[in-house]
Structures are given as C-alpha cells and as structure tokens.
Amino acid sequence: MNEQKRTVAIHVPVLTRVEGEGALDLRIEDGQIKELRLRIFEPPRYFEKFLEGRSYTEIPDMVARICGICPVAYQVTAAQALERLFGVELDPWARDMRRAFYCGEWIQSHSLHIHLLAAPDFFGCDSVIELARIAPEEVRRGLRIQALGNELMDLFGARSVHPVGIRVGGFHGSPSLSRINEIREKLRAVLPEAEALIRWAASIAVPQDDQAFVSVAMQHPSNYAIERGLIGVSDGLRIEAEAFDAHFAEHHEPSSTALFSSYHGQPYLVGPLARLNLNHARLPEWVKTLLAENGLALPSRNLFHSLVARTVEILLALHEALRLLDDYRVPDSPWVPVTPRAGVATGCTEAPRGLLWHRYEMDGEGRVVNARIVPPTSQNQGRIEEDLRLSLLNFGLDHPDDALRLHCEKVIRNYDPCISCATHFLRMNVERT
C-alpha cells in the first residue's frame, strides 16, 4: 500500500461563534501534528487592576462588566467572598434568591450557546440563521427558553445584561409577589419544552470520542452545586476555595493573552460536563431516567456530550428556580448590614462555563488592595489544546483541510470559551536595559 503523507497548515485567523477573539494554528507534517495552538490575542482588559482602591460596595457592579453573558456569576462570587471575610450571614431569603438569580443565568447562557453557537455545527450550518431554515421550531424554542432566563435575571438584577441587583449583604431590592407569580407560571409552562430540548440534543449525532481527563467542579452534600460547595476533582480531592492555590497554578504561554491553568501540572476540564461527571449522583431520579432513555451514561469521556449536558442543566435550573420561588415572601429587608474588615476574601461559584474563583485582599476600610480572578475559559485553555490533539488523532489527520478545520472548531465550541472573560488579567513584566 502506498501511503501518502502530506503537509497541512491550517490557520483559522478568527474563530467564529465563540465569545471574543481567538485563532487556531495547526501544522501537520508526515502524518504527525507538529504544531497546534489556540491563540488568544484579544487585548487584556486589566480588570483586577481597575478594582484596586475601590470600595467593597462597588465590586459587584464592577465585576459584572467582565462578561455580558455571565455577569451574575461574577457578582455572586465577589459578594460571597467578601461576605465570608466580613463575617456576614445572609438572610435565608437572600441566599435562596441568589441561587434563583444564578439559575436564570444558566438558563440563558446555556440556551444561547446551544442554539446560536454550537448546534449549527452538527447540522452543517454556518449560523443559527441557516439552522432556522431546517429546524425553525427548535430555534424558536431555544429563543423562548433563553428569553425566560433573561427575564429571571432581569427580575433580580433590574436588567439581564450587566445586572445591578446584588450588593454585599444581599440584594438592593426585592421583586413583588405578583412578578414572582408571573414568572413561576412561565417557568412551569416551559418545563415540557426543556425536556423536549434534552431529547432533541441527545438525538443529534456527535463524533464518538473517548478521552481521559480530569474533571473539576464544585460539589455540595445536598444539592447540585451552583453557588455553594467545595471544589471537587475527579481524583477524589475536595478542598475549600482558600486551598485553590495549593493545587492549581496559572502560567503564561507566548501565544495567549489569557493565562493557562493546571491541576498538579496537568490540564483539566471545568463546565457542564465536568459538573455532571462529578455530581450525577445528585441528579433527581427522573432526570437519571431521562438521560438513560436518551443514551447518556455518566461520567462521560466524550466532550461532545457537553451539548446535552447544557440541556440537562437548563432543566435542572428551571426546576430549581421554581422550587426556590415557591412560598416566596417579600422580606422586611433584602440585605443585612455589613462592616468591612481587613484580610483576604476568597470565593468560588459555578459560572455557566465552569468554576469561577475570586480572591481579594482588602484593607480595614473595605477597599481592594489587590484582586485575582480565575475564570473558566483560562482553566479550560490547556484542556482545549489537549482535546484538539487527541480528538484530531481520533478523527483522522487524512481528512480534507476543510473537514479538519470544522472538526477543530466543533471541539473548541464544546467548551463555550469566553475569550473576553479570559483576557482581563494579563500580568506584564517589563524589562528595561
């Protein structure tokens, strides 16, 4: 047999259908991957530096600006870290409504990613506009679910993009009972659509891929972890947010303005599939049955199951929001008083894209001395490159260039990377001679 070897150089100058600006370089020589690099070139935004000297009262609104898709994750993580340092015990009402607010963000972010960004790949479409020609009902359903997530965010945050509802100590205000009753009706009405969405996503043919990887997600003893819990790792490690630096490290690569993270020196996965892999025992029995009926076995080693994982989390978030809004009452006060103190505040939550970790050193007057934020996309960066390498070998390097390019883009989109979130913390070392 005469085996033909070729040299392939694929350069995707701007990745589309991801959040922010990145590129991909792939070089194959003699049937071997010689170079594979996810390049993140979006300029850094220096958010941590902006926070220095700011009062704790400003932090939730400032960090919300890091991302237009997952601002609640940033707000809740910052507020919780500071509340922990200041010894603030939230009213149970505020604790529950934070989680309901967060559910809204999971619903809108996941639905947006599934329908606008990821699904077109699996139907041979360039965009959701093309997808709408062949699956109009599914796209309409996705938009309805996304809009409901936005509405839930708007309810607690006064607006869904860069909401302003959260303050350290609780919320600035509380929705009226009539507005809560209105949204509960909508949440209940959309449940069958969310179940149909899971069945639709599970029916989409995805590449069969099998990879060993480390999953990292928060875990909670009594619920599916969103805003509270320990950081869990698939090798059995369980740690508090304060211990993050003892096990996880960040480093620079020349090709990226975002930092790479590693766990004990190896890449790892955060996000919906990592969460399901670590927390599937916490799923209600009827969800387990639904997944079994649709052929998703957990834990999964196929990153292409991320699409279904997002649909499962949409359904969970809808049910959770309904549960939390049951017996809603308007509180006497939506916030408790706060007295700042000096020290180090650390916190983490599960943003739609995965673990989000914050650390603030505060002075005695409640001003930020320094800040550090580790977003999900930077944590997934090393895993994306590792996945691309393994997935391409599994897919076969002898495919035409266009097929290789599309496969790489599909792999990257599985992670729903938010490059804009990931590029705000570049540290610059300037050498002068």
Partner: protein, 154 residues
C-alpha cells in the same frame, strides 16, 4: 399588545445613545398621546429583540450606525440589504441585523418594519452624545411622527 412599536436601541456610550434620544424626543412630545403605540428603549438586546417583534403589526427600529458617513446622517435600511451587514455571529456581537435576519428566517417579522440608522462618531463610555446626534434624533423623531400621521414636533 399594541400593533405599533417604536424601539430605540443603544448603550450609554456617547453617540451610541442615538436610538434612545430619538425615543426620548417622541416621549417628550405629546404628539403620540391618545394613540396606542408602545415605545421602548433597549440596551443591546441581541437575540432578545426577536420576541419584541411578536404580535406587532408595525415596528419602527432606530439604532446607531457607523459607515464612515457624515455624523448625524439618517439612513433607512431596506430589508434586502440586511444580509450584507451581518457578520461574525458571536453572541457578544449578535447585532440588530443578525436578530432581524433570524426573525425573518423564523417568519417572525411584523407585516411592516422600518429600520433607521443614525450615523454616529465616538462611542466612548461616560461621554455625552454630540449635538449633531441630538439634532439628528429630533429630526428622525419628526419623521417618525409624520409617518404615523402626526404633525412635526417643535
């Protein structure tokens, strides 16, 4: 829901408030009083714009635009030109024309849709819009009021 909706799209950054200013000019007048018209200011609605078109008979959309033209110029967009302006579908950049193209594909466009753009200059946060943008917004509000069968605003 009202059959007629006027939607001003923008952000708080400088001239990007052009759509909001147009809506403000209409709201500040009483020319639309007594007429059932829904008027809204929207902050970068993305795909959320589609649900706001539902069950309307006539939607008038006003947004800022940048095309290297004269700042303050008002342009009316024809539906056949939309695809040429759609680009780079990330959800951070899912713009008005992307949303309208998707709505068109889904059959969700109202029977009548008028899309206006006001050519803008700078969009820096915390800056006020330029005077010529404010004048263009008043001019466009007059035009819209006339379209709706009202006398011009003062």
């Amino acid at each position: 829901m009202s059959g007629v909706r006027i939607l001003g799209i923008g952000s708080p950054s400088g001239d990007d408030q052009a759509g909001w200013l147009t809506v403000d000019a209409l709201l500040a007048s009483d020319l639309l009083a007594g007429r059932e018209v829904v008027i809204k200011k929207l902050d970068r609605p993305g795909a959320g714009l589609i649900s706001l078109l539902e069950n309307a008979s006539w939607v008038i959309l006003v947004d800022a635009m940048q095309s290297n033209g004269q700042v303050g110029r008002i342009r009316r967009f024809d539906q056949k030109d939309w695809p040429g302006y759609c680009h780079g579908l990330s959800s951070h950049g899912f713009g008005v024309l992307d949303a309208l193209s998707l709505a068109q594909e889904l059959g969700s466009l109202p029977p009548r849709l008028d899309l206006y753009g006001i050519e803008i200059g700078s969009v820096n946060p915390d800056e006020k819009p330029e005077e010529n943008i404010q004048a263009a917004a008043r001019q466009l509000a007059n035009l819209i009021a006339a379209e709706l069968g009202h006398a011009p605003l003062v």
